[in-house]
Structures are given as structure tokens and as C-alpha cells.
């Protein structure tokens, strides 16, 4: 320990303190050396061949235990770097700008001065720039045409989206798809193929339900009699079901409530409103009034705390006990009879279980069937039920020229999307046109004319409205 230490007086009173502050490293080192020599033999006695080794391997590189970047990460790390092909364009000089805070002086003429503006204007009026303007116009037209052409190319779909020669298909980043970048450089920067976030699968209804359903053979323009009858039967069944549903709804809502005529309703209302008010005296309605001698009498007699005597209590207790005894007796009797009834009970139970199982399975089947065709509930609005395509027999001409369909194909598509769960059912709300109210803004510069104009305008509007009304 050769560190330079400020000498400090310390007490070496105890053995412990002595040991602590006495430097014995040199002694220990010496002893260690000695022990080593004893173990391995003396250093100067040993031959050179034992002490030295001829280095034949060369210098060994010390390997750092830094984790190597994955190929994906390496590529991503290299992405922001400027492509190799652009490096020529960068300044190659290592000498930095001696004046870092150099002011960039604009060249003369880059910014028009007041004077130059004047001269330019004068020259423009003279017609010096006519040619320039024409040239500029021409250039602009060319640029526009190019733009339009580009748009058209997009409409022409001139690209094999599912082919392999598409740069996007190879995973080349969009920033590197440029005509100036050679394909080697593009391929050099191919991104990993796997998407960062895969697209979650579509819902089941969308995957399984067909977009264009098989048409019923009865909707042919010239159907066979049997098939058309089948279709009609289907429509009738559908309609019947709907009617039944409607009738049920009516029964459950409108039909459930008592009906009251308006006269009765008014009477009821009158009665309710006059409840508790002093009625005009009518001796005919309650003649008993005269008999009570004006004495106050409550409608309910006052409650009295009448105590039961012993006898009554006993009787009550006895009654309860008797009832209990009879009940128990009955139960005991039933227990005995049940033993004889065991078989019957068993059959009863099995029967009930069977019935329950049957109903359960039936319900499950029904549920599965409805779930198969049910419209997914996405919104508070309801998607209209699918109605069978209906062709009334009068409309059927069996002639291609006289076909007239009642179905709206666009609506059919719209509802099909809803039924598959691609769209939420919706009610299209009509936008109301906002009515703008016109005000006369009074300012300090209002003249008589302004007021007159405003009044006239208003009067004109009113008169127009009136004429409209009159016409209607």
C-alpha cells in the first residue's frame, strides 16, 4: 500500500488497535512469496523453457460480451442512414466551417426591392414579359397534364398486385421506392416480412354467410308452377308469422288495458281534482247525515289494547297444537304410503327427467337454428327481417320484355351487408335545413335608404309568402 497518506497520530493502546493501524502487508507479501517458493521451487533455479512460452497464436482479440443485434433490428437501425448511393453528394471535406455562425447573405436579386418592383412593373406594362408569361403558362399546362396522366394511370391499375415483381411485395420500404435508387440498394433494405400487428380475423357471421344467396327457383321470370307455388307458400307463411306477431303485440299492449271513453275520462279527472274539497250540500246523496246529530265520528274506530285472558290464551295454544299434530300425522301417514308408492314415484321422476331432457334438446336445436340466421346485434337499431322475394302471379308474364321487378337491388345489397354484420343497422336521418334569421344591424352609418331597403325586403318576403299561401 503505497498510497500517500496524511500521517495521523493514532493510539495503539490495545492489541486490536495495534493490529488495525500497523501496516503488515510487506511482511505478509514476503511470507507469501516464501510459501510460493517452497511450493513451486526457486525462481532463479528454473530453466527458461519452463518459465517462458513462445507465442505462436498472435494477438488474441478480447471479445466483448455485447449481444449482437438481430438481423431485423440491424436492418431497422440502418434504415435512417443515408443510402450509399447518395454519399457522393455529401461534402467530403473534413475541414469544418471556420465561422460556424456565418450569416447567410442573400444574393442580389433574390429579393425584389422597391425599386426593382417599380421597374418590373414598368417593363411588364411595356410587354417585355409577354413571352415569359406565355412560356410559364405552357409549362404549367405541361405539369398539369402530367398530373392528370398520373391520376389516369392510377385508374388504369397498371400493376400486378399479386405478382412478385412489385417492390411492395418484396417488403421494400416506401421511402426507398425511387427511380434513382438501384434495386440492389432496395433489396439491401428489405424489411422483415412479418407484420408488426397481424390483422385480427373477421367475425364469424362475415366469414360464413354468403354474399349472394342462392335464388329460390320460384323467382325465375318464367317459373314452373310447382316452384312458384312453393315460393308463394313461403311468402304466405312468412306473412302469417308476421301477422301473428303483430296481433300478439297488440294483444299484449293495447288490448291489455281498459278502454275509457273521453266522457268517462273527464268525469274521472273531475272527481280526482275535486277530491277532498267541500262538496256542495246535497241532502239527496247522503240522507244519513241528519241522523248523526252532528256528532264527530271517525271512519275507523280507535284501536283498543284489549288483553286476552288465560282461557283465551289456552284455547289458542290448544288450537295451534292440534293443527300441528294433524299436520305431522298426515306427513307420517304419507311416509308410509310413499314406501308402497316407490315404483310409481320412480317412473314419475324418470318421466319428468325424460320430458325435461327432450325439451332441453329441442330448445337447444331451436336456439342453434335461430343463431345460424340471426342478424348480429350491433346497434340499437334493428335490421329488417329478410323478406322472401315475392312475385305476384299477376306480374308474372313469362316474357322477358315485360319483366318488372318489385325488389330494389341496392336495398337488398345494403341489407345483406347488415345481415352479415358488416354494417350496423341505421336509420338515415334527414338533415334539417337551418333557417337563417335576418337581422337589421344598426350602426352609426345607417341612412334612411338602408332602413327603407330593409323594410321593403321584409315586406317583399312576407308578400311572397302570402301569395304562396294564397296559391296553396
Amino acid at each position: 500500500m503505497s498510497s500517500i497518506k496524511k500521517k495521523k497520530h493514532v493510539s495503539k493502546k490495545n492489541k486490536k488497535a495495534w493490529r488495525k493501524y500497523c501496516d503488515i502487508t510487506d511482511v505478509e507479501e514476503f511470507l507469501e512469496d516464501q510459501r510460493l517458493e517452497e511450493r513451486l521451487g526457486k525462481f532463479d533455479v528454473k530453466p527458461d523453457s519452463e518459465l517462458f512460452v513462445v507465442d505462436t497464436g498472435g494477438e488474441i482479440k478480447t471479445e466483448e460480451d455485447v449481444k449482437p443485434l438481430s438481423a431485423k433490428l440491424l436492418k431497422r437501425a440502418n434504415l435512417p442512414a443515408t443510402p450509399k448511393c447518395y454519399e457522393v453528394l455529401l461534402p467530403s471535406s473534413k475541414v469544418p466551417d471556420p465561422n460556424a455562425k456565418r450569416n447567410i447573405v442573400k444574393q442580389i436579386g433574390s429579393k425584389p426591392t422597391a425599386l426593382s418592383k417599380l421597374t418590373e412593373k414598368r417593363r411588364f406594362e411595356k410587354g417585355v414579359y409577354q413571352k415569359k408569361i406565355e412560356l410559364a403558362r405552357k409549362n404549367r399546362r405541361i405539369a398539369l397534364d402530367k398530373k392528370r396522366k398520373n391520376k389516369q394511370i392510377k385508374q388504369n391499375f397498371g400493376l400486378d398486385l399479386w405478382g412478385n415483381d412489385l417492390p411492395e411485395a418484396k417488403g421494400i420500404p416506401e421511402t426507398l421506392v425511387d427511380e434513382f435508387i438501384p434495386p440492389e440498394a432496395q433489396i439491401h433494405n428489405v424489411l422483415p416480412e412479418q407484420r408488426l400487428r397481424p390483422k385480427p380475423p373477421l367475425s364469424k357471421t362475415l366469414m360464413t354467410r354468403t354474399a349472394v344467396e342462392r335464388p329460390h327457383p320460384g323467382v325465375s321470370y318464367n317459373p314452373s308452377f310447382q316452384e312458384h307455388q312453393e315460393l308463394l307458400q313461403e311468402v304466405v307463411n312468412h306473412e302469417k308469422k308476421m301477422m301473428k306477431k303483430e296481433a300478439h303485440l297488440l294483444r299484449v299492449t293495447n288490448g291489455m288495458f281498459r278502454k275509457v271513453t273521453p266522457q268517462e275520462k273527464e268525469n274521472q279527472w273531475k272527481e280526482e281534482m275535486t277530491m277532498g274539497l267541500p262538496q256542495p250540500h246535497n241532502p239527496a246523496t247522503n240522507p244519513s247525515d241528519s241522523e248523526t246529530d252532528n256528532e264527530y265520528k271517525a271512519i275507523n274506530p280507535p284501536v283498543k289494547n284489549k288483553k286476552k285472558d288465560h282461557k283465551a290464551r289456552r284455547k289458542q295454544r290448544e288450537r295451534i297444537e292440534e293443527r300441528e299434530r294433524l299436520k305431522r300425522e298426515k306427513i307420517n301417514k304419507k311416509k308410509i304410503t310413499d314406501i308402497y308408492k316407490l315404483r310409481k314415484l320412480e317412473t314419475l321422476i324418470t318421466k319428468k327427467e325424460k320430458r325435461d331432457a327432450l325439451t332441453r334438446s329441442k330448445r337447444a336445436v331451436k336456439k342453434a337454428v335461430t343463431a345460424e340466421t340471426a342478424v348480429p346485434k350491433i346497434n340499437a337499431h334493428k335490421t329488417p327481417l329478410k323478406e322472401p322475394d315475392f312475385v305476384s302471379p299477376e306480374q308474372l308474364s313469362g316474357d322477358l320484355r315485360k319483366i318488372n321487378s318489385t325488389t330494389n337491388l341496392l336495398r337488398d345489397r345494403f341489407e345483406s351487408l347488415q345481415r352479415r354484420g358488416a354494417l350496423a343497422a341505421s336509420k338515415v336521418m334527414m338533415k334539417k335545413k337551418r333557417k337563417l334569421k335576418a337581422y337589421f344591424k344598426a350602426g352609426h352609418k345607417v341612412t334612411e335608404n338602408d332602413i327603407q331597403r330593409y323594410v321593403d325586403k321584409k315586406a317583399g318576403k312576407v308578400s311572397k309568402k302570402k301569395t304562396k299561401l294564397l296559391k296553396a
Binding site: 398530373k147 391520376k151 389516369q152 392510377k154 385508374q155 388504369n156 391499375f157 397498371g158 400493376l159 400486378d160 398486385l161 399479386w162 405478382g163 411492395e168 411485395a169 408488426l196 400487428r197 385480427p200 373477421l202 367475425s203 354474399a211 349472394v212 342462392r214 335464388p215 327457383p217 323467382v219 325465375s220 321470370y221 318464367n222 317459373p223 314452373s224 316452384e227 334438446s361 348480429p376 346485434k377 350491433i378 346497434n379 340499437a380 322475394d389 312475385v391 313469362g398 316474357d399 322477358l400 320484355r401 319483366i403 321487378s405 325488389t407 330494389n408 337491388l409 341496392l410 336495398r411 345489397r413 345494403f414 345483406s416 351487408l417 354484420g421 354494417l423 350496423a424 338515415v428 334527414m430
Partner: protein, 607 residues
Amino acid sequence: MVSKKKKKYSTGEGAQFMTRKAALKKLQLSLKDFRRICILKGIYPREPRNRKRAQKGAGGIKTLYHTKDIKFLLHEPIIWKLRDLKVYQQKIRRARAMKNYPLMRKYFRDYPEINIDHIVKERYPTFVDALRDLDDCLTLCFLFSTFPSLKKVPRDQSMLCRRLTVEFMHAVITAKALRKVFVSVKGYYYQVEFEGQTITWIAPHHFSFQPQSKDEVDFKIMSTFVEFYTMMLGFVNFKLYHSLNLVYPPKLTAAFNSETDKELIDEHAYVSERIAAMNMSLARITGANEVEELPEIDIFHTEDEDPQKLEEAKLEAEKVKKLKTMFKGLKFFLNREVPREPLVFIIRCFGGEVSWDKDHFVGATFDETDESIAYQIVDRPSMEKKYLSRYYVQPQWVFDSVNVRTLLPINKYLMGAVLPPHLSPFVDKTKDQVYMPPEEKALNNPDFKPLDDDQSNSEIEEASDEDNEDKDNEEEDAEEALTKQYQQEVEQDSPSEEEDADDDVDPEKKKIAKEKKKAMAVTSGVPFKENPYKKEIEDKQAFRLREKLVRKKHRNLYKSMKAGQEKRKKEIWLLRKKRRLHDEKVKEEKKTEKRKQKMQILEAASV
């Protein structure tokens, strides 16, 4: 220490779903933009299993999205474009408000377009995926191609739909991919087959435009769907044209170039241009040959495959091959009153040539006076001038022929005839247990011959014929019996002769020799004869054993299936019996009538 309390709905179904409002907030988009991007990217609202939990305890019914879906949207580069568009729209609005109309016009002119082809690629990673989802796309595009410019639909959209649909139809024509047609009241159902995928779509009848009421359909949403679908159809067309060695974009008539679209205002002119475009043949890539016909199906013998199924597939392939060249070399002429678009499409699909009246519509290729025309399609009861060299048939003949896959006999479809019903080819093949009257069978299968066909044809000699047949049968029977007897006799004779020859040798020795011979002799092998009846019985028993192995889980289902089959079989049997009885009765009546007539004639002759 108590662990930190878990917040409600931070896991499970509550965390899986997101309301639309929350999604809007997360994506920083307006509702309009959100709707658009959802349709473009194919992200749709979901129905949760437990709504209460998914809505984090809130009541009512809200539109819910998967959180994963929204996170997926978050990575879409188009979102940034939409945000930029918002700024652009503000600029336009400002220019309008400031009444700086030239600037506004400039903004409109340079309106940035959103490129969505990468979305098409993302949603349909392979071409087959795109083909599989083409039903909806085609139906909507065909529908929108009939629309005039509407308020909520971009101006060029219906024009683009028109172009793309015609291009697609051309691809179908050159690939000869059409398989089925059905004329319904709703429209024409077409089914085509590309790369093993069947695509079905509806093309509407051509009426004059019917006004759509506003409260039924949200045009804006449908137009967004169409925006995506046109993009998809364009790329599909490109790929199809390339696989068919055609030049894309094809040079169709002048009306389909976008520069001249303003000139054609008349609806009828549009339609006739469209049909004329379909009647053109497309330019092929130079140096490319015709698409070579697919070779016949090679049969690879695998153990698990049913030979019957293989045979069926082979038959089907043969039929399709026949269908593809059904109208080849035939010339068709369409009369004025016939719906031209479907007919031109169908006839050209199977190699026919079509033309129409040159004076009425553009694009006619040959005149009505052409003697080589094989069929003229008419839809009127009679015509003044008729050519002897051609058949005059009604349009339904074409549709029915396609569905049956052969040229049907024209006698039922001649001009003015009462047409047989137009049956749907889209019948469920799994429902094969249906009673089919012999007429329908004959229509579906031209080779089918009803059992009593020849009898009905030769009605006059029926009575005598039957007797003759009976006699013939008897004679044959007698002959057979004779030959049998003879053979038996021969067999009996042959051993007896042998015995006669060896009569004089010692009987004991003979016996020993015989026994030895018996031990040594090689008896002639008897070919194993399968008793078909016995085999049937064995098969039945094996089947019953297998039936017993049906799991308990499926037993009820199996039973109900079997019962249904039995029921249907019984129904068919009953209907057939009824038909047979009816036919017999009719025949009997006819016979008696004829006899009566004969008798009358005879009586008259005798008197």
C-alpha cells in the same frame, strides 16, 4: 401488505371491446373519416358475448369494436393522409368563404387522392382470396354501373364501374368461364369459375333508372364500399388479363375513354356503347398463343378415393369442356326487342358470333341478310320476313341450353311457342331426394328416356305389339329351356361312358386304383362365383354393425336423418306410383277410344 386492487373491466371482455366513441378518440378521426377507413380496411363492428361486460357495465346497446381491430387501424398510413385531407378541406372551405373562387377551383383540381392499393393487397394476400370475395364486389359494381351521377356518389365512380364490369365480362368471355345463368325477376344471376373458385353475381335488368328513396339506403356508405371494390376489381382484371395473355387496359370503344365521357349524355347511347364494346375481340399480347386447352384429368390412384366420385368428376370435366365450345362457329342475330346485353355476353362466352340491327345500335358485325346466320333470336309472336336458312328461337333457349350444357332441341322454343318453365340451375345438389317428374328429368338430362317412351310413340300398333312381345318372350324362354336340357343330358352322359369302358377289369383293383387316383388327382379349379344376393345380405349386416358403432352423441341425429330419408323415399315412391297410375289410365282411355274408332270404321266399312 395487500396487493393492489385490480380495477374492474381492465381484463377480460371489458378490455377486449371498445365503443365507437372511444375508438374515434383514440384514432383522432371524425366519424365520417372513421367510417370510411373502417370500410376500406375491412374492419367491422362486433357483437360481444356478454354485452353488459363488454360495455363496461353501461346499459343500452352501443356499437362496439375489438380493441385489437382499432390498434390495427392505428398503424395504417392512410390515417395520416386523412388528417392531411382535413386541413386541405379547411383550405377549400376558407377559399369559398372568402369568395376566392379561382383558388378554390385550383384546390379542387389538385385534390390529393388516397392510394389504397396496398390495402387491397393486405386484405387479399393471394389472388385466390380476392376471387373468393368477388361476389359482393361484382354485384355492387354492376349495380352502380347503371346509376347516373348522384349527389353522394363521386362523379367518375359509375363511369369507372361501367368500364371495369365490361372489362371483367371480356375476361370471362375469353376464359370461357361462364357456367350458369338464371333469369330471375330481380336480375340475371351469373356464375363463373376462375381458378377453381365459383363467383356468383347479380346483374340488374335494364330499366330506366329508378329513383332511390333517401331513407332506405345510405348512399355515402355504399359509395365507399364501391370505392374499395372498384380498386379491387381493377387489380383482379389486370391479373386476369395477364393470365389470359391479353393487353390491359383493353382498347374498347371511344365511350369508355375518360376524356369523352361528357359527350355521351343519352342513357340509351351509353348502354348501346357498352354492348358494342362487349362485341369486340381484344388485342392479344404479341407473340402469345391462344390459351391452351386444359388436358384431360389425369387419374392418380389413391386408396381413399371413391372411384365413383372420380368418375363423376371426369364426367363433369367433360361436360364443361363441351359447354365451352357449345356455340362455336354459330352465328346469332338478335332482334330489336331482345335484351341484348346478357345474350351477347352469354353467346360470346361459348364461342358464338353475335350481331344486331345495324340501323338501330352501333357495333353490329354482320347484317340480317347474311345467309350463314344459324339462329335468330326473337321475342315476338310472328315475323313478316323469314329466312329458311336459320332457326327463329326465343331468348330462353340460350339460357336453358347453357344450364343443360348442350344445345337443346329448338322445337319447344320456336317463335311464338309457349315456353317451358325456366328452371333454376342454383338448386341445392344435396337435396337429391326430391321427386322429379319425367319431363324435368328429360330437361336436365337429355339422354334420359322415360320408360314408356317408345310405347307412347307407337300408339297405333300398341295392342298388337304387346302381344307380339309376349310371344317373343315365351319363345325365348322355350329355347333357353331346350338348351339347358341338352346340356344336362350331356353332363349325365359323359361319366357313364367312362364306366362302360373299364367294365372288364377286376373290381377290387379298380377300387384301389380309384382311391389312389382320387388321392393323387388334381381337380379342376372352379372359379369362385360371387352370389350377389348373398353379398348384398352380408353388406347389409356389416352396415348394421357399423350403424351400431355410431356414437351416442350422434345417434339421435343419425336416427332422425335416416327417418327423414325414409320419409322422403316414401313420398317419392308415392308420387311415382300416382304418376304411373295416371299414365296407365290415360293410356287405357286412349286405347279404348282407338278401338272404338276402329270398330266404327269397320262397321262403316261392313255396312
